[in-house]
């Protein structure tokens, strides 16, 4: 339902060939440069081709500064690539206007961050409700659904707590519930365990894998935690000098 809706929306804007429906994410020679302090362009993300299927769980690996966060932001439509094409869920994200990208993000992306990024003035429940407010879904049932989501991440008893009253692991659980608020097809996580102690981090990772699987969402996690990468069937190395051939690019590095 959600897919066809989005497809219908983008058809008008694009009218070009779309990737098949089993593919959720498709990047074609996507690269990003930022203007440096001296005016010269600084490469933040080396050209990359990438295809991710629906319900796939993928890890993005690479050294610090290789462009993992940049890539996630491009997928979320927060920043635009300097070159290349980006499709997410049938939408050519790179050709959308800014407000259309905002709408796209509200509806199709769930995002979990290293430092949670919860709004401190709002309770756990409200943080989840907040995310629902910006999607197109009607207001009815929001309350109940937000409560259910928090229950699913194990925080059914902490609905009225503010972030400051929660442990960091609990805050990350709220963030995961919030990311799932609009049943997004794509769940992004940037170093979701880096601020947590080892065991809490493992539990959060398991939770992410589990809830995204249950929700039928595709999960893309950026991390340089080697230990974490072992839990993924597919690890994409970001930032390697890649020669454009899709074979090379989609050649997932299986670690273990």
């Amino acid at each position: 339902m959600r897919d066809s809706e989005l497809l219908a929306e983008t058809e008008g804007e694009l009218g070009e060939a779309r990737p098949p429906l089993t593919t959720l994410v498709r990047l074609e020679r996507v690269e990003k440069e930022f203007p440096g302090p001296d005016g010269k362009a600084v490469q933040a993300l080396a050209p990359i081709d990438l295809e991710i299927a629906r319900r796939e769980q993928v890890a993005l690996a690479g050294p610090s500064g290789s462009g993992k966060s940049t890539l996630l932001n491009i997928l979320a439509g927060i920043i635009l690539p300097s070159r290349g094409r980006v499709w997410v869920n049938g939408v050519a994200v790179d050709s959308l206007s800014e407000s259309a990208r905002d709408r796209f993000r509200g509806r199709s992306i769930g995002y979990v961050y290293q430092n949670f990024n919860l709004l401190s003035g709002f309770t756990a429940l409200e943080n989840v409700l907040l995310a629902m407010g910006f999607s197109r879904a009607g207001q009815k049932g929001h309350f109940q659904r937000a409560g259910e989501l928090l229950e699913r991440v194990g925080l059914g008893h902490r609905l009225r707590h503010r972030p400051a009253q929660l442990s960091s692991g609990e805050q990350q659980r709220v963030a995961i519930a919030r990311a799932l608020a609009n049943q997004p097809p794509l769940l992004l996580a940037d170093e979701p365990t880096a601020s947590l102690d080892f065991w809490t981090g493992r539990m959060i990772l398991e939770l992410l894998l589990e809830v995204s699987y249950q929700a039928g969402a595709t999960l893309v996690v950026a991390s340089h935690d080697r230990d974490l990468l072992t839990r993924f069937g597919r690890v994409v190395e970001v930032g390697q000098l890649q020669q454009g051939s899709r074979k090379v690019l989609t050649n997932s590095v299986l670690s273990g």
Partner: protein, 424 residues
Amino acid sequence: MSVWNIAWRNLRSRPIQSWLTVTVVAIGLALGLSMFLISQGLREGLARVTQPYDLIIGAKGSPTQLVLSSLFLQDKPGHNLTFDFYASLLGDKRVAQAIPLAMGDSAAGYWVVGTNQEYFNLTARPGGPPVWRLAEGRFFERPFEAVLGAQVARKLGLKPGDRLPSSHGLVADLEEGKNQPNEEESGGQTGIDDHHRSFPYAVVGILQPTFGPGDQGIYVDRRSYWEIHAHDREVNDLPGLEGKEPGGITAVLVKPTSYTAAYQLYQEINAGPVAQVVFPAQVVTKLFDFLGQAETLLEGISLVVLFLATLSIIISLYSAALERRRDLAVLRALGASRATLMKIVLVEAALVASLGSLLGVALAHILAQILSWLIYDGSALHITTRFLPEELGVTLGIVVLGLVAGLLPAIRAYRSEVAKNLVL
């Protein structure tokens, strides 16, 4: 969650800043509005008081003093007119009615007004109902019978049949330069006041409240004055009666036969050496001018405070937008558009301004009410401070002002970049 909800929560998350801003807006509005309410009420009240009186004639002196003493019972009376002059007025063809007022004595802290029964027939407009109506008892019929103004009766707890000791306000008050009758004198315990005990007033009637200064008067037959002061002359121990002509008349309320008659009297008498003629409405208009100046000053102060209020909205919301850069970025990451962030900030500004102006209107009415009580207590002039239609406009104006003040912070929020402010 709606934009309103988020804006409200944002305000609540920094309560001190928010309340300070609301308070500054409220005070700015209340200062100006309360004075506006009071001066509107005063204008109405003062105009209402002078309605029954066409002309007042008194001895040469300050017209304001003449009006304030004889109509508002607020100032010490001036010198007396001669009885001959009063008689000449009665004989004048241009005078339809001439009601004498003898003033200067006080009883129990209130001015005693000596007059005749005609006084009680005064109407606010020709053919209208009488200004003075009895609540209890009857009007006076002979000397030493007193009819009490509503406030006098209420404050002293007197009713028909009670007695009221009289005393001279004039000597002590003129010497001490006081405007109000002296409370101590009314006690009349010892010394020079002793002889007043032989002339106590009998309360025969209580007037209905008129919500004007007249409610503070004690009305007696003019001849009472004559007799008291005749007695004074016998006792001959009170100095300062020179030029006061005991038993004389302090002022005359004159109803002229026509408009032209009024102007002829005005010019003739004012040109002569004996007396002055005053149009009370004119004197009150002069008071309005004075009120107007005070109003302008307070309006100015109010504008300055409102300007500060606007600044404080700008500063508080702008700094909040800076402080909450990350929160705003998070909202963007959750799918909020730039326009939504702008709306949130504008709604915050509108909420602060509306709260401030609601509080300001309430505060203004409380202030005006307190002031009007004080005025009523001091002068018996009742000032109504009802809601004026202008207030709605002012309130809306403040909300618009708030929105304008919110514009800059809103644009700041609009411009903030997600990727830069989102700590990943």
